[in-house]
Symmetry: D2
Subunit: 347 residues, 4 copies
């Protein structure tokens, strides 16, 4: 049994880790920290866990995080950065669900997250937590910066077109028109995500520039092995969970004869959590609700030169905590699907 | 033209007053105060008002509220109490949408709102803002404590059974099982009313005791002219606007032959904003969305001894700002429906 | 491995059975019938099942339902009645999720379901599928009429107050004010349950009389061992899954000293799926989303004579398919929780 | 007073016409037809209209539509085509909210709507109902084919970049990524738009080809005066009303110095219903809920070569019935805003 610690268990990615890990079979929740709620049973805050999780929040100071085999950070940006070194030195593996170890360039980090990076050596070591791209590196890693929710969907959607330096699409004019459920904003008291504000409403945001944009460009560039450029427009949509990314790419003249459906199917043939849907399908977010699947469909209207890739995922599972458990499984040599064999909840 | 001031224009009752008054025809918005947002055009905060309302928030200190004919308080509890006297002495009428002037007993006020009442003489003078009960008193009043959202629906629903000391129902076992949309909680940053918390979710709250309970009992007792008792259970339901009150009353043996449908129809025959629906109907909240109507249906299953009264209203209109405009019309001798002749928005 | 057949797999209770049984471990889905969709993989209709369920719909005529150990009917009312005898005679156990075997009185059935009952002998034999009331009878049964969604919540909520002829409450004035998510209406094309009709809307329905009313009265009377009367008012609320029942009962004078919290806790102490919450709690529907739990809280405002019991369940799980799997487990001697050890999905 | 007839008053555009026309001041609803509901007061079907509209549905056969000054068709495609000639010959003006008179090419009509066009001479005469493009032609027209909901938003969003043959953007690679509320699908009993299907869910549809695509291309080409090409991807989003169109256009090298914000502001400076928002704004659908406004924002991230235009409208108002009333006002020489001076409903 892997001993697991969770730092910051009061947010949505925290409670989602608890949901998944409590039925994992190979992991035991040893500590869930919350400075503010220390002493309170987690099931008092999240009654959905009554009868399923009987651990209480502990103070970060008292918690024996160093006795754990792995610690997940389900915290605001900046927390993992401050605590990772001590844990790593104690032999504990670290999986950060926030952004501290995503952007490889500390200046980019500072630009987008408005804080200096305090452990650039660890940043250099950290592996980007996106198994479909980095599986082998993840297996050997001791420090993971998990892929963000939007970036997971966008990178999975473009990967078959880019990986290994393929010359199929114009890599400088990519567009990602993404729509996220409101839980993506986290469990923070804010006016903009109140039910009476976000309900029955739809809007774009962050059009000028969003933190996930550099992460996507860095990831796609790594996949492609050459610079990739992309415009990212996120939208807030009145659903609780779910991301739907609509991706646009121009086919290069020399690639007009490509069988894109086959390309996608081949690319993900062995992936346990990526489902390439049949030609013509339009995946819906609820088809992955509560599960670690991403579903992808590729369209080429009128057999023209524009490819449209549709990707859905549950932002809290494949876009966050589920993928983190998948990564944990890889790091500890467990079956990749362990604890993630969940049928999506529909309706 | 009536010159109107609004103290606290950044909440839902404030923006609703702006929506209604901007198309009133007989009123002019002279000042909308917000200490925090002074200088900002209200349409910057509420883009729905772009092109419709061109006033800016002013600081409460600079605002010429005393030059207004009437000032609405769309503020947290306690604010109107602190400012009403000065305005009244300057000849300005005051309509408080919060609770400062609802409960006649200062001790009850202190018990439920956790603050001492600071102007009990004004409290004694204040008229309760529920036109279907207090129309004549409202016409002559200079200070109004508007009825709360839940209390409006509950008092309208029980009125035909109680008014004038009628002996039709057991007045000691009344039940009000009420369901409110989330806007009833106001435009405050709170975790409990986030979209991802209140969406796709239903729960009761305040079962031990809710501030609107004493207000309902006071109001029903006044209507009846004798003590009335009631159990009130509010519920939070995932809709933006709307209250649905399901009321239960036991018919007294001597009243078994009453034609309750006719009783209700007669009671509200001349009311412009109360619609008694045909026998057998079940009103839905959206049928009053955005309008000042309340719709009521009365049921007596199996011709037994239990009456069920269904009442719907828009909590922000008939339950708050619309009713406040109705009250203003009465206070200034305008047609009661002026500015409120709005067709509900369906779907 | 139990061989399972499902008649009518295209509705919400059907897809929910597939979700649960595909991860049960002790059951194998052998046939899912749909006359209309015969030949289509179920995952084509419900993409949430892609990769999880690989069976196709078969025609009821071709299906080897008689080779199954148990057949679930997730069909409109009247279907199970027509097919049960042949299956039972072939040694197949039958679990009907519709109403064919709920009401013991064939005339009541005909009155509420507008069809004559065609196998009253089987009706007499059928066991009512509510494990917390009928566990031992269920273990021995070969034919089950599953409890309805509303009736499950109402019977669980009143049981501690009524069972064994207890004299605690006035059994003639019970009230059940119940609120259901829209999936309770099934996956049928109807205007009233369109998103643009049922969304952002709340209403009562069936106030004159609802099919679940006689079922509740029959069940409560059986629990109590003496006639019980109840008024049931169902409401449609804009959530997908979930029932919230708010129950009202008058405490008898001689029972005023009862510790109701303890009564409820004791009553369900050994129940795996009934969670009595701490005093003062208000359960929310999402706390059981996707799971087989019911959560109950009991309130007595002001220590008066009115008890308020709050019950939440997922109408498709504890209110339908989950409870049916629980019943199957009992009938086949499996651990009662097998396949139902699911953590609710929150948010 | 204009005498108005409405053919097909039982759908969402019909009830919306009733809402708007009942408060128009210059129009009188003389007939609302529904073969199926003849004799029923419209307020029985739509209780939101109780007290506001007291007309009853009449049979199309009995209705004196020919006595009207104008007849709106709020019907399925194909109905207006069959009845327009007779009305026009009787001197009645005709405004079709369906697609019968949108596509100028009868073969295109047949291809997308699966029926032959039966009055191509009228089609040639019909004016496309989009006032910001066709105002003068509308004033003189007797037959209007109203712009579709999606096409209205897309044409308004691209107009400043295309009109008069401007050379600002690559007109062959336009993308319209559009999101619509569920009411856009109409008030038809269909599984796909049930609350339990479309709620908490997001998906694309019609990616292979959507009827609004040729309409958009025809309209944009007319605005530009030269062929324009566009890819249109519609999405279904869980809101009741509202369309959000995210439009993408590549800036031509020679147009890099254009002040696009000013271009948009100038283009719509005199339009009563098009609101160009300040630079950096992101319009939200609820900011136009229930109103005839469209709000537009133009973005150019990083001052690069991709323009992003965001457009919101209420699909039932500016996207349908409100725009139809605007067109009626123009046809009859009334103030263009009459009856449309409605403040959006927020929250």
């Amino acid at each position: 049994m892997i001993n697991v610690g969770i730092v910051g268990g009061t947010g949505y990615t925290g409670v989602e880790l608890l949901r998944l890990l409590s039925r994992h079979g190979g992991a035991r929740i040893k500590a869930v920290t919350s400075r503010k709620e220390a002493g309170m049973p987690v099931a008092d805050m999240f009654p959905s866990l009554r009868g399923c999780v009987d651990v209480a929040f502990s103070s970060p100071d008292d918690s024996d995080l160093k006795q754990c085999d792995v610690v997940f950070f389900a915290t605001p940006h900046g927390v993992a950065m401050a605590q990772a070194r001590e844990l790593l030195e104690a032999g504990v593996k670290v999986i950060d669900l926030a952004a501290d170890f995503r952007l490889k360039d500390p200046e980019e980090f500072q630009k987008w997250y408005a804080m200096a990076h305090t452990c650039t050596d660890l940043l250099a070591e950290a592996v980007y937590g996106l198994p479909e791209v980095n599986r082998e590196a993840i297996r050997k890693a001791r420090l993971i910066g998990m892929a963000g929710c939007y970036p997971t969907s966008v990178q999975l959607g473009f990967k078959p077109l880019l990986d290994g330096g393929k010359k199929l699409i114009d890599t400088q004019t990519l567009i990602a028109d993404c729509k996220s459920g409101v839980s993506g904003a986290g469990r923070k008291a804010e006016v903009g995500t109140l039910f009476a504000e976000a309900g029955d409403n739809f809007k774009a945001y962050g059009v000028k520039g969003h933190r996930h944009s550099p992460e996507m460009i860095q990831g796609l560039t790594a996949i492609h092995g050459a610079p990739v450029n992309l415009t990212f427009v996120p939208h807030l949509t009145p659903l609780i969970r779910g991301i739907h990314s609509t991706l646009y790419a121009r086919i290069l003249p020399e690639a007009r004869d490509t069988d894109f459906q086959k390309l996608f199917e081949d690319c993900f043939a062995n992936e346990p959590f990526v489902d390439v849907m049949p030609a013509g399908a339009t995946p819906e977010t609820r088809s992955v609700r509560g599960s670690n699947y991403a579903r992808i469909a590729v369209h080429r209207p009128g057999n023209g030169d524009l490819l449209i890739i549709l990707v859905v995922e549950d932002n809290l599972v494949k876009g966050a905590s589920g993928q983190a458990v998948q990564v944990m499984n890889l790091m500890f040599g467990l079956p990749e699907q362990q604890g993630l064999d969940i049928v999506p909840l529909l309706p």
